[in-house]
């Protein structure tokens, strides 16, 4: 256990990087995911196509391949940002596809009569989405999105593979110096579990407050 105390600064900065990466990527993924889900149900055929292509492409390419492309290959075509931003953006773009699918599933759980009623009242497509469909759809998918949040947290570890010193990489570096794998890796695992536990707690609390009992 000493090793955890001794290298606290490393673990702390690794943990903070993981948390920052998780939160930034999650906020990005949630916003982009909502947009993509709307694209997939909107009345304009070409936009539905764009939504479908987005989801199909990003769900079927490994995140690590996307990270390698955005960090090592995109500079070749003159697109470059700093390492952390690029990684956060890539994870957000990747997870947005999964969140979009979850939200679309939520939209499908909203009874058809709801959107018909909205139309009958004369609401436009945008208005019916904003005031009628989305508030119900998003409440229905709190649990799935919570699961995706935990998966996203796990996926931020891949950033270690492209050179970001987040929790996994920090643990690995400390282990290379100290060679005490058991406390070090268990410590890192506990860090991830803590984030996942907070995520699960927030999801549960949100669900209790917001979910609609059908």
């Amino acid at each position: 256990m000493n090793v955890l105390v001794q290298y606290m600064p490393q673990f702390e900065s690794g943990m903070l990087t993981t948390i920052a990466l998780t939160l930034l990527a999650f906020v990005g993924a949630l916003s982009a995911g909502i947009v993509v889900a709307i694209l997939r149900v909107c009345p304009v055929p070409i936009l539905r196509g764009v939504g479908t292509v987005y989801v199909e492409t990003l769900q079927n390419i490994p995140l690590l391949a996307l990270l390698v492309i955005s960090i090592f290959a995109l500079p070749e075509v003159g697109l470059q940002a700093d390492l952390f931003t690029t990684a956060a953006l890539t994870i957000a773009i990747y997870e947005a596809a999964f969140i979009a699918e979850a939200i679309r599933a939520g939209i499908n759980t909203v009874a058809l009569g709801q959107s018909e009623a909205a139309r009958a009242l004369g609401l436009t497509f945008g208005q019916s989405l904003r005031f009628v469909i989305m508030p119900q759809a998003l409440r229905a998918v709190i649990q799935p999105i919570g699961t995706l949040f935990i998966a996203l947290t796990m996926n931020t570890a891949l950033a270690a593979g492209v050179g970001i010193v987040e929790l996994t990489a920090a643990a690995n570096q400390v282990d290379l110096i100290e060679a005490q794998p058991i406390p070090i890796y268990v410590g890192a695992a506990l860090g991830y579990m803590a984030i996942a536990a907070v995520g699960a707690f927030v999801t549960g609390a949100l669900e209790r407050r917001m979910a609609i009992v059908r």
Binding site: P62, V77, N108, N172, I182, Y192, M193
Partner: protein, 279 residues
């Protein structure tokens, strides 16, 4: 397909006009974005033929194909282990014995919150120090199986629970043991129903084999990296690698969706035709 249920019915004249305008605007935007992307490539010289010419080399393509084989091997072995582990864990989780139920529960909950990469690092750097040094293939496959078994367990449990209780009860009533009931009655039906979910989880596992890039196991992404190190064509190589992933996983996902759509036609997920002898 029911998933394509739309939020609007047949639009009237005004709606049609709006859709037309929106179509024109979004087409222009899409074309602009694609053109900007192509320009970005062209202005950096990445569309020149000499940047792509190495990929007409048969030896190089064969090398990438070898990588794909490596990916498939790692994926298949991991899927077999993870599914077997998943079934055992799901059954353990539903066992009436506390001694089986709790460890299975703990395993699933813990593994879902530990990144596979952390397990890979343990295999890679920690275990060799205790004299546990395996070939690189297993350093990839074992952590992936250990970690995915938890996800498969969740799926199997959901599938078994979704089955009508009477199925298992009937099995027990005609004198089958618990094991026989599971083997001959419950699992075959659950697996059929779960097939789409199992396939998409397997696609996820296939994508995870790209972590071989980190352990230097010769799978698709890693062989892509090797190719870049002697062709110095990064963007081209990785685009080709991504397209290969897209084709392989896209076809698998397509199979999953087709199965799902077919199951929705037969509400309970049973086959549409019932064998009269079996009835």
């Amino acid at each position: 397909m029911s998933t394509d249920r739309l939020l609007f019915d047949t639009p009237g004249p005004r709606g049609r006009r709006r859709i037309k305008i929106a179509t024109v605007i979004s087409t222009v935007i899409v074309i602009t974005v694609v053109a900007a992307g192509i320009r970005q490539f062209a202005s950096n010289g990445q569309l020149d033929w000499n940047r792509w010419e190495p990929f007409t080399n048969v030896a190089l393509l064969r090398y990438l194909f070898q990588g794909l084989i490596g990916t498939v091997q790692a994926a298949v072995v991991s899927i077999v282990f993870a599914m077997a582990g998943g079934i055992v864990l799901a059954l353990g989780r539903m066992s009436s014995r506390r001694l089986l139920r709790w460890p299975a529960y703990a395993y699933v909950e813990i593994m879902r919150t530990i990144p596979a990469l952390l397990l890979i690092y343990v295999m890679l750097f920690a275990l060799p120090r205790y004299g546990f040094d395996l070939p690189v293939f297993w350093k990839l496959v074992i952590p992936l199986s250990v970690s995915s078994a938890a996800s498969f367990a969740v799926i199997f449990r959901a599938g078994i629970l979704s089955l009508e209780k009477g199925q298992g009860e009937a099995g027990l009533a005609i004198g089958l043991t618990y094991g026989q009931t599971m083997r001959y009655i419950v699992l075959p039906q659950a697996v059929r129903r779960l097939l789409p979910a199992l396939i998409s989880q397997s696609v996820g596992l296939l994508k995870d084999t790209s972590l071989g890039y980190i352990v230097s196991y010769n799978e698709l992404l890693f062989s892509g990296q090797v190719v870049t190190s002697f062709t110095h064509r990064l963007i081209q190589t990785y685009i080709i690698v991504a397209v290969i992933y897209l084709i392989v996983n896209g076809s698998l996902s397509k199979v999953a969706r087709t199965l799902e759509a077919r199951q929705q036609k037969t509400p309970s997920g049973r086959p549409a035709r019932v064998d009269p002898d079996a009835a």
